[in-house]
Assembly symmetry: C2
Homo-oligomer: 340 residues x 2
């Protein structure tokens, strides 16, 4: 409680407050005689002095905090990004303040405001935006208020706002996947497209459709199932698809977690994944690399995405919002064996 302050240290060392501060932090253009410095350091150690970061932040006018806002930290997609962010932040001497919004844009906005209060140096926001201009406008307002206060922002996802963005190549990756599947002999396609208005899902769907089109194939509208962007959403979508009796060779789930749900649904329906029906996902979640049959997917380097976003906020602020594109690569595995 009665924590020791810098003045205590100064008194103990028999120097002024100013000298103590300089000795401990090594001031920019002032030096302290080695002998004095040692005395201060010794006193600090003896008293177990721990500088008050809040006071320092206040005096220096800048903090050492970086805010990370994700939809759901328990989701492997986001926790991988978080790992990248914490690593890069630590490298830069920043602590990460984590906010998990549970997919609620209102809480996203609220957290931006809290982080603004904390005078966080930067905010990294991950997670797909949605198509709701009312909400997006408020988000935009919150972000620009934050930036007006000198904060840096990087988004991971769609380049929707005027801020630095790390964009994952959802469209291109999905197109590549479509082409690869077509090349493997698949002809009748379906998709678990996620919820309407979900931009990441939409991009992946568009890419997939475009890829198919480039090979002269197509995705029938009745083969596009809409459901939640979750494991259970994948399960539901797949069940409905199978129930509909649609004749389909392969189905794309717009993320790995949905794909795994879809695999479970197929199994429960007695359909063999792979030889019976192909299933492909997106993200290449590490934890899911060992499902059987192994899942065809599009790899997204999530740790790197997190690190890149963090670094984007750390450098000089650019005049123009920067756009960092992160390539995604198709990984064909056993869930979509070559079709004879």
């Amino acid at each position: 409680m009665a924590s020791v302050t810098l003045s205590d240290v100064a008194r103990e060392a028999g120097v002024s407050l100013a000298t103590a501060s300089r000795a401990i932090n090594g001031s920019a253009n002032r030096t302290v005689r080695p002998e004095l410095r040692d005395r201060v350091l010794a006193a600090a150690a003896a008293l177990h002095y721990s500088p008050d970061a809040n006071a320092q932040a206040m005096a220096r006018g800048r903090t050492t905090t970086l805010g990370l806002i994700v939809h759901d930290i328990a989701d492997p997609y986001f926790s991988s990004i978080a790992a990248g962010v914490t690593t890069a932040a630590e490298r830069a001497g920043l602590m990460v303040t984590l906010a998990s919004t549970g997919h609620d844009p209102e809480r996203e906005i609220a957290f931006i405001e809290v982080l603004q209060s904390q005078r966080a140096r930067a905010i990294v926001m991950a997670g797909s935006r949605i198509e709701d201009e009312t909400v997006n406008d408020r988000l935009r307002a919150a972000l620009s208020a934050y930036r007006a206060g000198g904060g840096a922002v990087a988004m991971i996802g769609q380049p929707l706002f005027d801020v630095d963005t790390v964009a994952i190549e959802n469209t291109a990756g999905a197109a590549d996947l479509a082409v690869a599947l077509h090349a493997a002999g698949y002809r009748r396609f379906a998709a678990l497209a996620g919820p309407a208005g979900h931009l990441t899902a939409r991009d992946r769907m568009e890419g997939f459709a475009a890829g198919l089109a480039s090979r002269g194939a197509a995705l029938a509208p009745e083969h596009i199932m809409r459901s939640a962007f979750t494991r259970d959403g994948g399960y539901e979508g797949m069940r409905e698809l199978l129930d509909s009796g649609a004749a389909v060779d392969v189905v794309l789930a717009v993320n790995d977690v949905m794909a795994v749900g879809a695999m479970a649904a197929a199994r429960d329906a007695g359909v063999t994944v792979g030889t019976g029906i192909g299933i492909a996902g997106f993200d290449d979640i590490v934890t899911l690399r060992d499902v059987t049959p192994s899942l065809t997917t599009v790899r997204v380097p999530l740790l790197q995405v997190g690190a890149t976003a963090t670094e984007l906020t750390l450098g000089e602020p650019a005049a123009e919002p920067r756009l960092e594109r992160v390539a995604s690569t198709v990984v064909l595995r056993d869930s979509t064996p070559p079709r004879a």
Copy 2:
């Protein structure tokens, strides 16, 4: 940059600093005339005032930060705990500061010191301790320095330090699992025991052995494989076990991630998981619920563990360190079908 301060708001509203502060925060035993309060609030809104949390922390002498220290945020075990912590923290009006140590105890200590500097209200530490008294002593010292400053601490794991602890019933759960497997007809046991000195792994192993003993069975020392507490560790351990030609019915991996690695190794060796060899894990990681065959495991309510630990730090500090035991429950699935 030139962020607006409370004095700006006060001037704009034509009141004193004190009144502005009281109007905005609703002081404890002071009231502000509604008319004035509205004027202040209006001014604050007009100027886009955002209180400076650092200054508030400094003036109030207490922050609204809770520190969370985990080994690896990308690990589903920890990210689930983190989800529980963020939820509980938000309920209490706290922001979570996340530190991911990469299993390095030195960084654990360093982060405790940083959190102490930030004057975080509480620290939740998750992750197995190791048997290294030198390191543990330093950790203990760092924690007690932090607590001397008024901070609360809760650990998730072994009740090793004199702090509130949420202990997962590793021993009992593993014993239950052993009994259940024995009852299912398994007789020849092996284990992927994780690294030596890893306390969680050790507890699980001891529980497993005890459970077997209670049924008159035993775990042959040569069937205990030591490897990393990771997916790859599980793979390696399993491969060695299979290579050794040991005659085994079922193998316990001390966590789910290792179990999944073991399943992969079995598959690669042409051994059928389930009918060929049983495999069981521990934790019941959500993301892994859909692996095939579905994994027998011991469920640990990780979200709840995180929430409980958080709540432990929030209430009145207890004279005695509290110990909250969280039950774990056996979940038998297809990776260990009943043995005829």
